[in-house]
Symmetry: D2
């Protein structure tokens, strides 16, 4: 039973974001779900994320992917805010529609020191992904328990 429950709740995760990650205010991410090594996050469509051509900017999509992976990692290891990205790779696949963008992240590997995951981004109401990313997080040494 415990295995299927995220090690951080949505409430605790949102409190952590509000208290210690000021950079998130700009994006207004909505964390819709956190599981054990998985997460779903929404980037609300907003004029402030627009790039030439009228679509959501690459940096906003990279921020979304990285944030969603962080949520998935904390869903697996609990409230360890100093888990940090060591690398991220993203492929931009299609111009997204001018709507909210959703990201799904899941861990491919959860080691003691590293977690690796992939992230799918798609415009709401579009079945095809607009971007795909992979990332590695470094997990700081955890207290024994």
């Amino acid at each position: 039973m415990a295995e299927s429950q995220a090690r951080i709740s949505l409430e605790e995760f949102e409190r952590l974001c509000a208290e210690s990650a000021p950079f998130l205010r700009h994006y207004d991410f909505r964390t819709e779900d956190i599981g054990v090594g998985s997460a779903r996050v929404r980037l609300p469509y907003d004029e402030r994320h627009i790039r030439p051509g009228g679509t959501v900017s690459g940096p906003a999509m990279m921020a979304l992917a990285d944030f969603c992976m962080w949520a998935a990692v904390l869903g697996a290891i609990g409230n360890v805010p100093l888990a940090v990205t060591t690398s991220l790779n993203i492929n931009f696949l299609r111009k997204p529609d001018n709507t909210d963008i959703l990201c799904h992240a899941r861990l491919l590997k959860q080691g003691r020191r590293l977690a690796v995951g992939d992230m799918w981004l798609h415009a709401e109401n579009d079945g095809e992904p607009c971007a795909h990313a992979t990332a590695t997080y470094s997990i700081p040494p955890l207290p024994e328990n």
Copy 2:
């Protein structure tokens, strides 16, 4: 002579950014130099970019790298705002100091359809890089000239 001069001036580049890329306002990037396939951009230190641990967030560094690469690409091909990132890979190497972050980008390849470059990021006054990235831009078909 012409070979050593960027195909977009700083003034023209800044006008393009102001007119068609609203997402840039958040970052307040200072484009300090554009050459033929190279650029140097500064991210001023600001509380709004801070992540847990008090340092500049990964997304802010990814945005800086991507933007600096875009400046380098336009420095090589001229004012072609629809050149778009197709992929970006970043390695975070060290926690940067709490100062401005500088990025240098240069093209490794400039083809007709793709440009590939790498980007070095470092905290001001620190000789060691805090991140290294590579990216590929897709260049839309250009009018013959």
Copy 3:
């Protein structure tokens, strides 16, 4: 109907490999399936691919991923041998068992100029992947048809 049929047959693909890709002889890949933008390839376990620690080397897995992606690309665009990899990113997730390694590739995007795909590698009889990769192929201009 045509949509669901690969644009290159297994026989034609194997003939192409035998005739023009001498580097493949070393790996002895078995192409088990090619679909429209997908492929499954087996790397038979062999002492010649072993690295320190007794497991299949990273380079053998990278070769497998790249080759499997090539099969998937040709399954989507037909016999275009000069489609070439422009970039590849791989994450090694777990030490594989000392068995054959299987790779599944599928395209995430098939554009006119670029194809992007991801590849999953796993040791036979192991449900967990030992590696995950993404790659971009450049598609040469095709004759109109």
Copy 4:
């Protein structure tokens, strides 16, 4: 003085390769130099590495990059054969000439647990790189000293 000397000698490195890495025989790499976190390796031109179009295959270049990075890592940390690649990203930039290919690797970061480096590949007698790669190695816990 000690700082400028590689922690593994060319002789010791070659013995390690010969004894525990059978997969290397196929490539016939020539390790020309190992420093503290740097290395230079040559891939002799050979018909067995050829891909469609007559040039050295991507997998041979990936193997070269990965091997050269391994030499650079052991040059920094000593004879630790179980240092393993966790990720590798490569951009293929130009078709190389049909000559030997040289690779230079150097570490961008050497942490206790991870080493990150980049690798430049170029055909002999060609100043322009044919490929550029970055890779991360995981360093197993070392005995205290």
